[in-house]
Point group: D2
Chain length 180, copies 4
């Protein structure tokens, strides 16, 4: 954060063209793709830059992210906007599901149900968010996620349903959406 | 968005110290506070800058926002991250509830349940998000929200429960959280 | 309800072997099947008897049921158990989805998210529950439902995601579940 | 279940006037009340009879029920109606919350979000449902629940938010609802 006036703030976020990662997406299993993202060989998506989150652990059916909230994420009520918790939770439930998929399969979130257990403020420091598959399936995957403060305090939880689909033969159209 | 290399991107977001709006929060009714935000006399919160969203309509129990997604909001799947839809929906259900509160009362989201009806891409252009109170109450408010594309196509919906509380006598602690 | 002692109660519920309706299920479109249930040519399922609910309206993407709660549906808190509202809401969101399906297609609920707006008591008399498809699809259908008191007061709402699948060639196995 | 014709079925359910338990409700802590229900000194509510469910374990913040589904609980699709899973889950999340409350405090469900992981049929035999408080609070309690088959297979999960309130001075009006 850079002060530009008594009450003005600004911050420059940077990211890599999402097409770089997207070209790899249909070629790799979910576990290989996410492992590449954890190791830095595959760039993290733009939204991860805005929300200051990073994938730190991935295994079959399980992921963990770290997130450092900032003033940039505040809502009008003087705390971190619920949208940051949602973004984190949507990310971990989706990546947990993705980690179980073979190359050539895609997924899309059907829904996300979030419980805001405690308010998140800058005092929390670095958050940890965990996602886990509750039930896998060839058509629908059920995942759950949770956000923890540095002392292990539970801050928010979520459940999600995700649709699995064959991503199609062409890597040029990896984002075809399953619900259409 | 500013290109800094063949695949590198960056963008500078700016906002006003959230303390400016926060000082007004306990002094105004929700409708007056949000009207000020719509008219620009009260600064929008930092998260609204990151998500490129603006309050355009407010009345008792109802609000509408506009949002212009950008590449900065993309997920690894080649579409706008679900976290943007969640942020928009969390915002409209909360502001709809807030618009019904007298000065001196605060609220906090208990939960948010989001349905992702259709993927959101940059092709959608400017989105419209609407929030409405389904049932008001002195302790719990139920709100619903939805996101529409430029042609009125329904892209996502949400329901939310929000807790109402007396914000306390001191404007210096407006963010005291209700769930503790 | 039949009194058998100062504080003992009993009631006899009756229904038709669910196999009778099940034999028709794979042969009819959802609209034809539900129309038969409304008209009485196809028996209502056992759970509809226990919950005292009846299909009264059906069209493509929309249904309405009536329900008469009784003391048999009370919870320990002196009001109608939330499970009755859930059963009604699960029913209307599912039947609304079913009403859009051609013969040979089945569906199964992925999830249901219920908001309890107001307590339901016997004073409410006959309830009306409405279900409607929010977005149809070849793989996932999104529906919403609501319960209204006799005066139109909104008592509970729900949203649901439902998975669509080809029911398979054999009417002898109509209940194959889609999530496996 | 008693056959009364080739395809007709009937069953007589019995219960005790819910006013008997209701008279005890405001006088006992949640743990004492539920312990009495487990031990049989406080009658189970009518809905528990219809759904064939019984409280078998209770401690502070945790409960377990058993449930024996029957043909009476079938839906038109040839499996147990989702409403039975909802009733079980609504029960366990509510009783888990109740078990943490002192005498003189009541609660009411705000919402319930259910994931249907696997279909439930009579083949499952006796189900086990567990509820646990995720976060307690003086105003809102967050609980979660799950249903397990006899082999420990996870069949459904739920999360719920519950509102806590002072039940008021008079035992004659224990069911006053918190959301009004």
């Amino acid at each position: 954060m850079d002060a530009t006036g008594p009450t003005e703030r600004e911050h420059t976020f940077s990211w890599v063209d999402p097409g770089v990662g997207l070209a790899q997406l249909p070629l790799l299993s979910g576990l290989d793709y996410l492992s590449g993202m954890r190791d830095g060989s595959i760039p993290r998506p733009p939204m991860a830059s805005l929300m200051n989150l990073a994938l730190i652990e991935v295994q079959h059916g399980r992921v963990a992210f770290e997130c450092q909230p900032a003033e940039a994420h505040y809502n009008p009520l003087g705390m971190v906007h619920g949208g940051l918790a949602c973004t984190l939770l949507d990310t971990v439930v989706g990546c947990a599901a993705h980690s179980t998929l073979a190359a050539g399969f895609g997924y899309t979130s059907i829904d996300l149900s979030v419980s805001y257990l405690r308010p998140i403020t800058l005092n929390h420091g670095v958050l940890r968010a965990e996602g886990a598959v509750v039930k896998s399936g060839s058509r629908v995957i059920f995942s759950e996620g949770r956000i923890l403060g540095p002392d292990g305090e539970l801050l928010a939880t979520a459940t999600s349903s995700l649709l699995v689909f064959a991503a199609g033969p062409s890597p040029s159209a990896p984002a075809k959406h399953a619900q259409e």
